[in-house]
């Protein structure tokens, strides 16, 4: 009789202990990562970075410094001072690149800049202007369109105007009849380093 009850008590105690432990584990699991928890995957930060990139593009498009950067093209097949797939250490050495470095890279935000253009057969093609690595899963993007004209001038390395797009060689082809050269979409991809 006495031994029976002792066994039951210890079983009870073990069950209670397991229950307690399970509830602690459960409680820990329940308070998972919320949107407000600081981490690189925070939705808040993604939104903020997307707005930041949009803001940079909108402001600098208004200032008119993006198109000169698009035209900062060494006619041998890359941007001045860049590798074949763009700049690897930061923005291009132009006014727009300077803004990218100061607003993004100095705040520990990595960025890629892609240039999309249209081929004569209507295909959309990508050319990389800045490549700071593969974006993380939580990257945000901002895009903006620019129009290039036949008489826009390709820039020399010192920033002065060189030959026109119609005369020089450029990565995007002339798709337009008349003065239109190509429609470019600039994409800025940002993510936390």
């Amino acid at each position: 009789m006495v031994t029976d009850r002792g066994q039951a008590h210890s079983l009870e105690a073990i069950t209670a202990g397991m229950l307690l432990l399970a509830s602690v584990v459960f409680a820990l699991q329940v308070t998972a990562v919320t949107p407000l928890t600081g981490s690189t995957s925070s939705q808040h930060i993604e939104n903020q970075q997307a707005r930041l990139a949009e803001g940079v593009l909108a402001a600098e498009a208004e200032n008119g410094i993006i198109v000169p950067t698009l035209l900062y093209w060494n006619q041998s097949g890359k941007f001045h001072g860049a590798a074949d797939d763009g700049y690897h250490s930061g923005g291009p050495p132009t006014a727009f690149g300077n803004v990218l470095n100061q607003t993004l890279r100095e705040r520990n935000i990595a960025f890629d800049v892609n240039v999309f253009y249209v081929r004569t057969n209507g295909e959309r093609e990508r050319h990389s202007m800045v490549d700071l690595g593969a974006p993380s899963d939580h990257a945000s993007t901002a895009t903006r369109s620019f129009t290039l004209y036949d008489d826009d001038r390709i820039r020399y390395e010192n920033g002065t105007a060189g030959p026109t797009l119609a005369e020089g060689s450029y990565f995007a082809p002339d798709v337009g009849e008349g003065r239109l050269y190509n429609v470019i979409e600039l994409e800025v991809v940002v993510w936390r380093m």
Binding site: F26, F116, V118, T147, V183
Partner: protein
């Protein structure tokens, strides 16, 4: 023995209650997480892209009209075809990019662009007509846009000394025949005159002074800007004198009702270059400029304005607008 059975039941009920509380807690916390997640998702439906598309289309159209007017020498239908062709190609290419963002975007030209005339003097010359008549009609019964002059400060008339400001410009002494641009409203007798003088204020020297009068009454203050290498650019329709805003010109365009006739007076008392575009086709225009384009000032065919319809559609936004493009018009 009976005691043990009772306690087992209690334990079971207690555990069940505890489990229910835990599940309720989990549901509650999950709801909080979900709310937070939804709240930080993209707040807007992304109308920014539509506005941006419209802006880019409008700036493309403006630039195209200006380029066609500057370079083309063809007939009005040629110009129209050139313009609509460029807009259509742009629309097609921009749509390729828009499709990548799951949007359908297009821009089309509505109707015919307004046929107008560009009048230009590109080489340094005085402001007389092609027969060197100093008083002449530039364009009759029309509306003007992109009216820009680049005048030589030295060539303008200076007021006689020892007179005060108003006298300096329009005193009893009518000896200085200031170069003037006159706007005569076609439907009323209202007349607006823009006078050009040099060194006509006490405060600024080596300047070009602009004074606006309406039926002989001076409007606002004269606008005086010092010349740079003897030159000052006066953008009449943009109300700028040497890159400074001129309130009197703004007032004039506020009161001036189209159509009006534009004429120059005392054209011998100023030299420089200018260009303007009016909304009257060249074969119906009275002008002292050379309509054959042989001598300066020359009148050539030009597009005055155009209407565009812009459509931008995504799953959340349907945006459609019609805009008018008239680059350099005063209220554009």
């Amino acid at each position: 023995m009976a005691d043990v059975d009772d306690r087992g039941q209690l334990l079971l009920v207690g555990a069940l209650t505890f489990a229910v509380i835990m599940v309720a807690l989990a549901v509650l916390l999950n709801a909080a997480i979900y709310t937070g997640n939804v709240a930080t998702r993209d707040a807007g439906p992304g109308t920014g892209e539509a506005i941006e598309y419209e802006n880019e289309a409008a700036s493309m159209a403006r630039s195209t009209i200006a380029a066609i007017n500057d370079r083309e020498t063809g007939s009005y239908p040629d110009r129209r075809l050139n313009f609509t062709g460029t807009v259509d190609t742009w629309s097609l290419n921009a749509r390729t990019h828009a499709s990548a963002a799951l949007a359908d975007a297009s821009v089309e030209v509505l109707g015919d662009p307004t046929r107008g005339t560009a009048i230009r003097q590109t080489a340094e010359r005085n402001m007389t007509d092609s027969n060197t008549d100093p008083n002449w009609t530039v364009a009759n019964d029309t509306k003007v846009r992109s009216f820009r002059l680049n005048v030589s400060q030295d060539s303008l008339q200076m007021p006689p000394d020892d007179e005060n400001l108003t006298d300096r410009l329009f005193g009893e002494n009518t000896t200085p025949h200031y170069y003037q641009i006159r706007f005569d409203e076609s439907d009323t007798t209202d007349q607006w005159t823009v006078f050009f003088a040099q060194n006509a204020t006490d405060t600024v020297t080596e300047d070009v002074t602009i004074l606006v009068q309406n039926d002989g009454t001076t409007i606002g203050d004269p606008c005086a800007v010092p010349a740079e290498n003897d030159r000052v650019v006066v953008d009449v329709t943009d109300t700028q004198v040497g890159n400074q805003h001129c309130a009197a010109l703004q007032t004039m365009f506020g009161g001036l009702d189209a159509p009006y006739t534009i004429s120059y007076r005392n054209g011998t008392n100023a030299t420089g270059t200018y260009s303007l575009v009016v909304d009257r086709r060249i074969d119906r225009l009275q002008t002292g400029a050379d309509t054959t384009g042989g001598t300066e000032p020359a009148a050539t065919r030009a597009l005055y304005d155009a209407d565009l319809r812009i459509t931008y559609r995504t799953d959340g936004v349907y945006y459609r607008t019609e805009i008018r493009i008239a680059p350099g018009e005063n209220d554009d």
